[in-house]
Subunit: 355 residues, 2 copies
């Protein structure tokens, strides 16, 4: 098992990340939490356990159930199981389950203990670490939530063996984002040199990739746990482009795929505005192509109004101007407003080309 | 205007308490928050303003609406008003409104700014200070909530002029509780000597009483903002008895009246178990009688099962044993389990007396 990673987050609370690399290691750690525990699954993640625990709630799977109604089910189950403030909720699943379990744990008796076991690559490298809980509200993604770091996060590549290929590649989009947010090139070089092993999900290589990726994320959130200093926002690299794509596409594009596309668009805008050196943008695009992402995709011209309105409806932009994350260099993100015309050029099919 | 009181609370955040003693002072301070503000009223408190502000939500009044549905209305109104994370929600009303506005503010975009203007005495001395937000859930009072201290709390006796007598006396129950939780006797002596002025709501005397009362509360919450060290629990003096009375009485007894009664019952149990000196219990009862509380009330013998089950359904007791706050002396609360037989003696009519 790799060394743990301890990350200090909101309210001075810290999260301990463990990397149990086999099913056996994972089970052992989980059984250590005792029986006064409520498990939260979705209809997919429940299949990863051969036997369901005593107290559990199984929610329908998917972003469209990321609503108060589901959180209410978790809290209700906690009450039935007579959980106290010292008891533990275990969120066992992807980002939706982890975000909602974290919200329920932060609210139940004003906060009980929280353990997260992300079962998708996307959730391992993104939602599980950082203390953000959330549900969607009136169509705005993650509008309602709290900062509530998990006590423990258990990241085990053993959960990834059966993950669908598209889900796996969605997670890789966030990993590649972290490579460019890192001030050193360790993760970038690793992604280039270990490409084959990563795609065949070699356990040892995966563990190292997860550790490198989470260390980059940890560096940003530790300096700005409640996203108040303009540092943590850097993790949104590619995301403003991505969220709007997801919206106009009715969430038919997986999040990490959209992020990969958004990364490429952000690099393009960086070059266009003189922020990013063309050689760096070329590195972004090459790595994305190496992993097979469709970065040539463009929005049809007739959908520009939809796309542009989706950009301004992003939660972060409700009250003011839209700021994009651009890259000055590896690990040197900057927040910039972008002229609407530039965004338009970045995402639309050019005049003569059919979308 | 009295000096402000600054109280450091959960997450190292602090609340500034202001005492604007006239309507004019209060209005001036409120207008200083600008226009990117959402106001939350109930159907009572809205009448305290001659003109409604631009962005506001008016909720139905009463504990039975202290539910997610109301919080959702607040969040929805915030979204309509395009509030951002730097915008302000102002909770203007009694405990229910303040608790729910605080919850909505803690959840909207993972936390926007919060100002509370308590308009009842109970809320001024209790709910407004301390950073607890809450709603009821499946009949359990305050089961769901967060720790989220207000940025500012504005406490103005001008709001109390039209408060119904029963509401006023309900608030006084918590003030008297604070008198016995204070390590000095300043508040106790003040309540004895200024009894007449307090009952006729003399503005200057009220201000001083509010300041003394809040200082006592502040002393407990600053040492234990998230109620994890067994210190803040002392503020529940009388409350375990009180909550159960409120429950068996279907909330027909006002909270502060129930707390006054519970104080007397806790003092009785303290004497019975050798924790409390009889002379202190006598002081408790005399002060309560001076203010006209019915401390001779008892539960009918046939309702003991209901009462006793209500005690164990108190949120704090869901997962384990019931601990009561007893008094060793002024400002020296202790947490004790009590034999069920002693609780029974404390609250039931004696065998020969009709309940």
């Amino acid at each position: 098992m790799l060394n743990n990673l301890r990350v200090t987050l909101a309210n001075g609370k810290s999260t301990e990340v463990f990397f149990p690399d086999t099913v056996r290691d994972l089970s052992e750690r989980l059984s250590g939490y005792g029986r006064r525990v409520l498990w939260v699954f979705d209809t997919n993640s429940r299949n990863l356990l051969s036997q369901l625990p005593e107290h559990c709630v199984i929610l329908p799977s998917g972003e469209k159930y990321k609503l108060w109604d589901s959180v209410e089910k978790i809290i209700s189950a906690a009450l039935d199981a007579r959980l106290g403030r010292d008891s533990i909720m275990i969120g066992f699943g992807g980002g939706v389950i982890c975000d909602m379990t974290a919200l329920a744990a932060s609210l139940y008796m004003r906060g009980c203990r929280l353990v997260l076991v992300p079962t998708t690559l996307l959730c391992m490298v993104d939602a599980s670490l950082g203390g953000k809980s959330a549900i969607d509200f009136r169509g705005v993604k993650n509008l309602v939530g709290t900062f509530y770091p998990a006590m423990d996060v258990l990241i085990s590549p053993s959960c990834l063996r059966t993950l669908a290929e598209a889900e796996y590649m969605s997670g890789m989009g966030e990993v590649i984002k972290h490579a460019f947010l890192s001030p050193d090139m360790d993760l970038y070089d690793f992604l280039v040199s270990e490409h084959d092993a990563i795609l065949r999900r070699d356990r040892t290589v995966l563990c190292e990739m997860l550790r490198l990726s989470l260390s980059v994320k940890a560096g940003y959130i530790e300096r700005d746990p409640e996203e108040k200093k303009g540092i943590r926002q850097a993790l949104n690299l590619g995301h403003t482009f991505a969220h709007a794509l997801e919206t106009v596409d009715n969430f038919g594009t997986k999040h990490g795929m959209a992020v990969a596309w958004g990364l490429s668009r952000a690099a393009w805008c960086g070059v266009r505005t003189g922020v990013t050196d063309p050689s760096l943008a070329e590195k972004v695009d090459s790595l994305l192509r190496l992993y097979g992402y469709d970065i040539d995709r463009r929005i049809e011209r007739g959908r520009w109004i939809d796309y542009s309105s989706a950009v301004s409806k992003d939660k972060k932009n409700i009250s003011g101007t839209v700021r994009f994350v651009l890259l000055e260099d590896f690990g040197r993100p900057v927040l910039r407003e972008l002229d609407s015309q530039i965004v338009r050029e970045a995402v639309l099919t050019s005049a003569g080309v059919q979308g």
